[in-house]
Every structure is written in C-alpha cells, then in structure tokens.
C-alpha cells in the first residue's frame, strides 16, 4: 500500500523530536555523575515516574502491535493487553518495595546485595543485555514500519533515524532526559488515544457502500485472463485493465467479491499485476476493513456508548482480508499472495482463537493450549523482570514513592489497554487498513479521521519507540558499565569515567539494535515482545522472587537459576516451530519442542534449579550471608544496618 508522505506528519514529528532533544540537552548538566546518569539522583517525583512507567512500558508492541492484532483478528490482540497489565500486579505487590530497598543502579545490585558474588553480577548483567536486546528488536522494527509510510523512507532508514535520535537522548543526559521523554510520551499517548476512542464512539458503526465490501458482479465488458500456471484451479478470475495489470475477483458460485494480489519478484512489487506506484500504469493496494451488515439492517448506528459499540459490533458482519494460505508461483518466478474478503460474524471476533498462534484454544490439541497458557504466564511474570522497568524504581526517593508511582503506572497503563480494544475494532471497521501490514493499523485508523490526527498519532508512535528504546539502551548500558566493567572485571573507573563508559556502551548497544531492527523487519512486533517476556521471566523472576522469600537461597542458586532460565528459554525459542517457520524458513513440523512459548516450562525450571542448587550449596554458604527467616525480618535487619551505617 502507498500511503503518500504526509508533510503535516513530518512537521509534527520534527517538532516532537526537537522538543525531546532540547530537553535532553537542557538536562544534560544534571547527569555528570553515575548516580545522575543512571538513576537521576533518585529525585524524580513519583507521579512523573508513574507516567514515565507508562511511557517506558507502552512500547511499539503495545500501541502498534496490539492495535494491529485486534484490527486483524479481534479479541486475541486484547489478550496481550490483559497479560501485559496483569504483569504489573507482580511488579507492585511482590517486587517494587524490596527492589527499591536493595538496589542502586541495576537489578543486579538488588540480587547481589547480600552476597557480593561476581557470578551473580555476571549472570544478571548478561541476562539484562539479552532481554534488552530481545525487547529492542520489536521497537526498532516498529520504527522502520512507521517511517516508511510517514516519511517515504525505507524501513532501514527509519530504523537508523530512530536509532540515532535515541542514542543522542541517552548520551546527553541518561536517566534524567529518558524519564522526561517517557513522561511526555506516556501522557501524549494516553490522552490522544482516549480522544481517538471518543471519536470512534461518536462515529459509531456504518455499513460500507463500496465494491470492496461484499458481493459484486464481475465485469461483462472484458473477458477474464486464462487461468494458467499457478492460477489453474483457483477460485479467482483476472480481468485485464487497459492501463496494465488486472482486476481480481474471487468467484463464489454465481456471485463474486473483489480480491487483491501482491506479487514479489526480486526487489520489485506488483499489485494486481501492475508495478507498485501511483503513476500511469501503476497500482497500489486498496484500503480495506468494512462492515457488510449491521444489526436490524440499519445503515449506521450513529454515536454509541462503549457497551453499545461492542453490542452492535457483535451483531454485525465484518469483512476481514486474510491472505490465501498457499501463494501462487508465477511463470516468471514471482510469488503472488492473494488477499480476499472473508465475511465474519462480529461475535466470533470478540472471543479468543482467531489469531493463528492462538487457534489452539478452539481446538482439542493439548500442546496448542499449553502454548497459549505459556505465553499468558510469561506476560504475567515477565513485566516484573524487565530490566528497563526495574531500573525505574531507582529514580524515586523511597519505597513509598516507588509504590505510588507503580499505582499511577497501573492506572495509566490499564486505561490505555482498555482503549486498545476500541482502537483495534475501530481500525478493523474504519476502511483504512492495509491488508499486508497489521503494524500500521493504529496510524491508519487515525487517518480515517483526517490528516492532522494521522500526523499526531504517527508522531506519538515515533515518540513511543524513542522512549522505550532509550530506556532499554540505558538499562543495557548500566549492565555493561556498572555490572560487567566495574563489579565483575573490576575496572577502576572514576565517577565521570563510569558516565563516559556508559555513553560509549549506549552507542554500541544502539548500533546493535539498529542492525537487528533491519534483520527482523517482517515480524509482528507484539509476537517478538512475547518472546522477550518469556526470556525475562525465565531468567530473572525465579532469582528475584526466591531471594526475597526463601531463606535458604544461595549465591550459587541465584547464578544457576539466571543462567539456566536464560539459556533454556532462548534454546526453546530457537527450537520452536515459530522460529523454524519465520527465522530459518524450514518446515515447522521438524521443530524440536512441542510448543513455541517456553515460559510454562522454563520459568518453573528456573525455580527448580535455584532450589536444588541452593540446597546443594548450603554448606558452602558463609555464616552471616544466609538470609534471615523471612522477608519482614530480613528487611528490618537491613534497615537497622542502614541506620547504623548512617549514624556511624
């Protein structure tokens, strides 16, 4: 689909970037020390930190990915919203306060507080780097996805633009500027998405009056092209157009519906047989996403409330545009994918199981159900293990502030996730969808309301990527400098040296992120984030939870749990059917593991390894480093020690 460069969008985006960079340079003076660079001196107000949590967390996956999944498959995208939000319950009720008490700059600090073990620091630092990298990939993919239609640049250029801007943000002022960028981004995202949902409800649902929704009569003034080669036996007829290419119809008995074909031949793309473009003899995809029939035969519902919208949607017939399962191989070697109309009852789109990876919930195969459960568990457990979320607990002054900022975060994030259902359904029925790219659903939805909403939402989506990527790069930079260089390798760095090294690390991590964003450009961003949550939850959660709640935890147990959790989840992902299909492009049936999401197995495995190794190494634990009997006692002891230290 060709979107056309929106100069309004470019102007709004440029304004956003200019503001963000101005903030970064202005706040740069406050980040001369390691404490300022990595933790903003612990001086961020709790409300700002709470909204910044939303800015950090509501990434490209949340905004672009979930809206796209809802727009293409309905309720399944909302399942991610539910899982992502549920993860904050673990963060608030289990992790927030103890972590704030036990750490300084990175989550390795917290894990290692009472052990002083190089093994823990090394394992935690590597885990942070791996999880941050996994999480960075979808953000950069999202950046490339956005810049293509907005600025007219290629995916690669989009990734480079975002990468360079983010590196400048992180290098100039570290956590201080990152926090304010995330605060601005989080506020804008929630407010403008709320406005968009209000507009969706005010518009209501309208029956489509277009040939792209429902049965039409095939042309009678032209004869169809012969169905030769890969087209033979297919239920499609191609009617040649005088200016090149063809009109494609799907034949269904005596009636027909419009369809669209995308052919890839080398680097060239053809739409319905004509070269992609807007000039003479060229063609582009028709925007889709319509309602074929509304309840009681009405033409429009008019303005509706949130519940009425869902009720009317459930009783409507929606036209989806899936791709044919088997592409057609043309005589010249080109591969043609056909997108066709699939009228679907709205009520079928408001229950789980339409998205191919979740189809198992409607079937009887146990492994498919376990795959679904595994993902939902990973989403629940992964949030509280994400390094860029964990480091945000060090930017406020005390535990009460950490708790309050988490509650603000939950309120804003939860509200946003409720909006995603309406945003996705609005995109599904707004008539502006690109059937080949679900990541563009939200900006295209905004386009259905005009050029300015499109410009603003696209610019916010860009800022969304900027905020999340800057947080991730900062977390990775802290792991490299604070954990690896200073604590593991014992490199003697001055306070300023740590900041300089952190900036160099940020540039390197940013460079790696840009490369990965280009390599993985065809993946759905939400699916990739699901993998990141699996790795985070498997590697970090067992160590965090058991350290806090099991008195016999040893440093060997923590190190082993992180290493085993990380390697097993990575190995599982690489051996999964999804990886076989999307990464190696070989038959997924040859996959070595029974389902794609590892969390169901690898999270419990991390706990088991920690317990077994801890029990085996009890004798080696030195007196005085074994934890007190429970968390309250342990925290009280720490506090007393802290006070004694303060008084001394």
């Amino acid at each position: 689909m060709i979107y056309g460069t929106s100069f309004t969008a470019v102007a709004v985006f440029s304004l956003f970037v200019a503001i963000v960079l101005a903030i970064s340079f202005y706040l740069g003076a406050k980040a001369k020390t390691a404490s300022g660079y990595y933790a903003a001196h612990g001086g961020i107000p709790w409300f700002v930190n709470g909204i910044a949590f939303a800015g950090d967390y509501l990434s490209a996956a949340s905004f672009l990915g979930i809206c796209g999944l809802v727009a293409f498959y309905g309720y399944d995208g909302f399942l991610y919203s539910i899982g992502y939000l549920a993860g904050w319950v673990v963060a608030l009720f289990v992790i927030a306060e103890p972590l704030k008490r036990m750490g300084r700059f990175t989550f390795a600090d917290a894990l290692d507080k009472q052990f002083n073990s190089r093994g823990i620091k090394l394992a935690a630092a590597i885990s942070t780097l791996v999880v941050s990298t996994f999480y960075l990939i979808p953000q950069m993919v999202g950046a490339g996805t956005l810049v293509q239609p907005l600025l007219g640049f290629s995916h690669e250029v989009g990734v480079l633009i975002v990468g360079i801007v983010v590196i400048v943000i992180v290098v100039t002022a570290g956590m201080v500027s990152t926090t304010w960028v995330q605060f601005i981004k989080g506020s804008l995202l929630v407010v403008f998405c709320a406005m968009l949902v209000i507009a969706i409800l005010a518009r209501g649902l309208t029956k489509a009056q277009t040939e792209w929704a429902g049965p039409v009569a095939p042309p009678t003034d032209r004869a169809p092209m012969p169905a030769t080669g890969g087209w033979a036996g297919k239920p499609y007829a191609r009617y040649p157009r005088p200016d090149g290419g063809y009109d494609l119809y799907r034949l269904e008995g005596k009636s027909a519906t419009r369809a669209q074909a995308v052919t890839k031949l080398g680097k060239a793309t053809f739409i319905n047989g004509a070269p992609l473009g807007t000039g003479p003899g060229q063609a582009s995809l028709q925007p889709v996403g319509h309602i074929q029939a509304l309840p009681n035969g009405v033409a429009s519902t008019g303005s509706v409330g949130p519940v009425e919208y869902l009720t009317a949607f459930a009783d409507s017939t929606i036209i989806l545009w899936p791709a044919e399962k088997d592409p057609i191989t043309e005589a010249d070697g080109g591969i043609t994918t056909i997108y066709f109309q699939k009228p679907t009852p709205g009520k079928n789109l408001l229950v789980p199981g339409a998205y191919p990876p979740f189809k198992g919930v409607r079937g009887d195969k146990l492994s498919d159900k376990l795959d679904f459960l595994s993902l939902m568990i990973a989403l629940f457990a992964g949030t509280a293990s994400l390094p860029h979320i964990l480091i945000r607990y060090y930017t406020v002054k005390d535990q009460a502030a950490a708790r309050k900022s988490t509650v603000v975060g939950i309120a804003s994030i939860g509200f946003f996730y409720m909006l995603t259902l309406y945003l996705g359904l609005g995109a599904m029925t707004g008539g502006t969808l690109d059937p080949t790219n679900n990541n563009m659903a939200a900006p295209l939805l905004a386009k259905s309301f005009g050029a300015l909403p499109f410009a603003v939402i696209s610019a916010i989506a860009f800022t969304t990527v900027l905020g999340t990527v800057s947080g991730l790069i900062l977390a990775a930079s802290g792991a490299v400098v604070h954990d690896l260089m200073t604590n593991v390798l014992k490199v003697n760095l001055s306070d300023r040296g740590k900041v300089t090294a952190g900036k160099v690390a940020a540039v390197i991590v940013g460079g790696v992120a840009m490369v990965l964003g280009i390599v993985f450009k065809t993946f759905n961003v939400t699916f990739l984030v699901g993998w990141a949550f699996n790795v985070a939850a498997s590697a970090n959660l067992p160590a965090l939870v058991m350290l806090l709640f099991w008195k016999r935890t040893t440093k060997q147990g923590i190190t082993a749990a992180i290493v085993v959790g990380m390697l097993s989840s990575l190995g599982w992902i690489m051996g999964s059917a999804q990886a076989y299909k999307d990464i190696y492009h070989i038959d997924p049936a040859r996959a070595h593991v029974p389902f794609s999401q590892p969390g169901l197995v690898t999270i419990p495995l991390g706990f088991v390894v920690l317990v077994v190794v801890s029990l085996m190494t009890q004798g080696r634990a030195k007196a005085g480093v074994v934890a007190p009997t429970n968390i309250s006692e342990r925290l009280a002891v720490e506090d007393a020690e802290s006070r004694e230290g303060g008084e001394a």
């Binding site: 319950v89 535990q399 925290l635 009280a636």
Partner: protein, 93 residues
Amino acid sequence: MPPQDSFPPPAAHGRNARIGLWFFGIYCVLYAGFMGLAAFSFTTLAQPVAGVNWAILYGMGLIVAALVLAVIYMFVCTRAGEHADTRDGEDAK
C-alpha cells in the same frame, strides 16, 4: 542526612510484604480463572452477559481489578506506615 529508604519505617515492611502477597494471591486466582476458561472452555467466554460477552467482561474486569487492588494496597500500606510511625514514637517515649 537520613538514609533515603527511611520511609516507610521498618515495622511496616513486613506488613506491606504480607499484604502484597495476599493481593497477589487474589489476582493470581482471578487471572488463572481467565486463562483456564480461555484455554479449555472458550465457548463459556462467548456467552453473552451485560450487553457484551464473558470474554470482554472478564478481560476488562481483570484490568479494573488490578487498578482497584493497587489503590487499596497503596491506601493500606500508607496507613500501615502511619500507624507504625505512631507506634515507634510511643515506644520512644
């Protein structure tokens, strides 16, 4: 200069942790119920209720429940901290 983590006072730490675990347990039950229905009885989630269906109601309910529990937790922990502060003060007398 007092240590940065001097609030809430130590007596509140254990209580906060216990309250947090209770709330966590409650939410785990709600979340597990949803996952179980989605995985093993999706037709139940398709049943209409209150103008929508159980999938919508339960899903939205989980988001709202997280917020409600979070607000209650914040309120309870703040009060627990204040009580502990008061008790510490009385003990000191």
